[in-house]
Symmetry: none
Subunit: 232 residues, 4 copies
Amino acid sequence: MRAKAKTRTSSRLPPLQRRADITAAARSVIAEKGHENISLAEIAQRAGVVEGTLYRFFENKQEMLVSVVADWYKEIIENVASVEDVQGTWNKLRAMVWRALKIIKDNPEVTRFILTKIRPESVYTNTIFYKLNRRYSADISRLCAQAIESGEFREDVSPILLRDMIFGCIEHSTWAYLRGSGDFPIDETADGIANVIYRGMLKEQPAAQETMDGVVERLEKVASDLEKLAKK
Amino acid sequence: MRAKAKTRTSSRLPPLQRRADITAAARSVIAEKGHENISLAEIAQRAGVVEGTLYRFFENKQEMLVSVVADWYKEIIENVASVEDVQGTWNKLRAMVWRALKIIKDNPEVTRFILTKIRPESVYTNTIFYKLNRRYSADISRLCAQAIESGEFREDVSPILLRDMIFGCIEHSTWAYLRGSGDFPIDETADGIANVIYRGMLKEQPAAQETMDGVVERLEKVASDLEKLAKK
Amino acid sequence: MRAKAKTRTSSRLPPLQRRADITAAARSVIAEKGHENISLAEIAQRAGVVEGTLYRFFENKQEMLVSVVADWYKEIIENVASVEDVQGTWNKLRAMVWRALKIIKDNPEVTRFILTKIRPESVYTNTIFYKLNRRYSADISRLCAQAIESGEFREDVSPILLRDMIFGCIEHSTWAYLRGSGDFPIDETADGIANVIYRGMLKEQPAAQETMDGVVERLEKVASDLEKLAKK
Amino acid sequence: MRAKAKTRTSSRLPPLQRRADITAAARSVIAEKGHENISLAEIAQRAGVVEGTLYRFFENKQEMLVSVVADWYKEIIENVASVEDVQGTWNKLRAMVWRALKIIKDNPEVTRFILTKIRPESVYTNTIFYKLNRRYSADISRLCAQAIESGEFREDVSPILLRDMIFGCIEHSTWAYLRGSGDFPIDETADGIANVIYRGMLKEQPAAQETMDGVVERLEKVASDLEKLAKK
DNA sequence: CATGAATGAGTCTTCATTCAT
DNA sequence: CATGAATGAAGACTCATTCAT
């Protein structure tokens, strides 16, 4: 690299602002370079500081990337819409799945980074990501547990496995998109997952009442769709 | 003009043996360093040769790793037990899932390498791994497709999604194990997956169900009519 | 994660000074190793820095060598004495040749490097060296062209060929010196070249010559007629 | 590189044949790769032998290349047409220049190799090439010396300088062609060189006789051209 | 003799990290 | 505090040369 001609002027900013700049720069590099060939020089350049400055805010490269992505991810899942007022097990399930798919759709870079860089690490379960994910997936586990407890769902499959099934399917369905080649249909995917899980867990011979519950839920979905339609 | 090739530390071996040594060394490094950086120096050292020798057998690092892992993986899935003589959809499904889990259980390192290093690449779908995986997962897709065709399964979920669900769940259930921390129960996991998928896809029992289906269908027709009305 | 940058052996220098050091080191290696392989390790060592430091100032080896030699050459030909106030074609010619010989005499290493490393490249005509040389040799071409135009020189030899003749002779006469074995006499060489070129191009003295020219022209006409005849 | 599948079968050839194969292979590589990136592996492959075998015939790479090119060059200049029966200084001069240009035209690769790899070496004057070149250029030096002695040429320019002038101009005029970009007109170039040198060396005020000599020679050329014409 | 697998010193290049300024 | 020049260890890769077979 040539000797730089122009001096990077970044005269004394409030530390928080500086950190924000660096974080933003790091995010943009991560988003572009995916998981490989992320260089501190580039992050520094985009942040308008020099390499050395990065070390005032982060221990080292590893810590920096993890920290930046953690904040990013936290931000994302904190802004996720609540599904509290959705009624019925199927609807709730579907809503939660949809929500997870939406996060991936909107944030492929950070998702890819977490899936390829963070999760495979043996220390993963000690990371903030693990905790964030638990909180985020706990909804689904809880929902399943409740359905089992209430007798709506069978008892012979653990909520843990259901969670793995749901999130595993979500991941698997989105890999092509994460790879940057291809796309996935949020609604159909959410429907499919919800259907298989719901039906697969429902107690076997549905009494009339139980079936009616399903009917009601499906009709509720129709009503909600109509509402959306009306808003346009 | 050049360095002399002075002492021959590793005596001449039959080429196949040497290649096997290098391959074995590469596998062991991959198994250990999985996610970290794999260095040719280390592979050479373990194989008891110098770095230059690696280039007699492989074009370059990339080609070497891919080639080694591809052979490894090919070996694994070629030795997999057949499920042809298993009878019944559930049994077949369960057997296939079990088989996949067994592969992971027995080969965590290569699995982890493929999942973290190969699959995320944007060229993944052009790789041999993709083809191997397709062949390997085609059994399940075919099984589901047949069950749908024969009327045993419903038609409202695509075999693709079912495949994603099954393999996604398998992966998700085994991550802790792949990371080297924790284990997973093969039989229970296989049971659970087979159950949820099978039940979730099974056409309901004709008896009482048929009536209810009729009801649902009629109501759905009403809903759809309302939708059409709303659009105007 | 990476090697520590432990002891600073070469203290921080003003960038221009460091660049100058590197450039000087590169020049000295080029001068010595001329035709052999030039290694960055050696340049770095002589400059008192590590190899990596070179990359702060140059893109890569190729760019570095070309850049260093180009600056070197530019320096040389910019300091060359003007021949503007020399009067007379022969005098001018002789002065220009002398000047070129002097440059070679004073800068054998860079000359040798350009002649052996740069000029044979197929991209030579796109290089800065080509441009520098053109500017530098344009004086001679222009002088010849003017002499031809003014009638002082004959018209039957192109200025291009004259230029090739002059510079070709200069090169050829100096190869032993460039090789480091032998020397060449600047003044005699310049005289000789100027003489042969000048006399060889000068229109003959009108007197007796004119008559003979007439004879020749008439005979040539006969010959040409014969040729035409033969062709039929 | 991959392990070779096919074995290079070259079962015991007469040594001379083997050497010829290697020489031919080396020539073809030199012709293609110009002066850089000539690898022994490639030469061996083309010769149908293994690298090791090369060392039975040549000391090392350097010696091999030099030896191969020397034979090549010897061959070329031994097959060059004689100019003995050409009469007259100008005609002889022109013929010799033409001959040299023809060699370059017909053998650009070996020429380029010699000019860039051999001649710049400090040991050049000890090489066979130097001797070959001397023999080859001695004709011209001798011609000039004779012309000087006979009083046809002036005495104030050394035959050495004339030789440098001629060969230097030849080289300079052919660089673009040697580089692989461009071409040069043999006849015009030969004419130009012969003219400038001849006229430049001719004693100043040509007496009638001397001028007549020039006339005669020019007419001889016309006659020879007519002969050629007649042969067609 | 011929083989060709193996050598090993060398090539250029990258970049996270440090610390004198 | 911020700078950014310098580090230095590691990276992948090349290839003329050798010698056990």
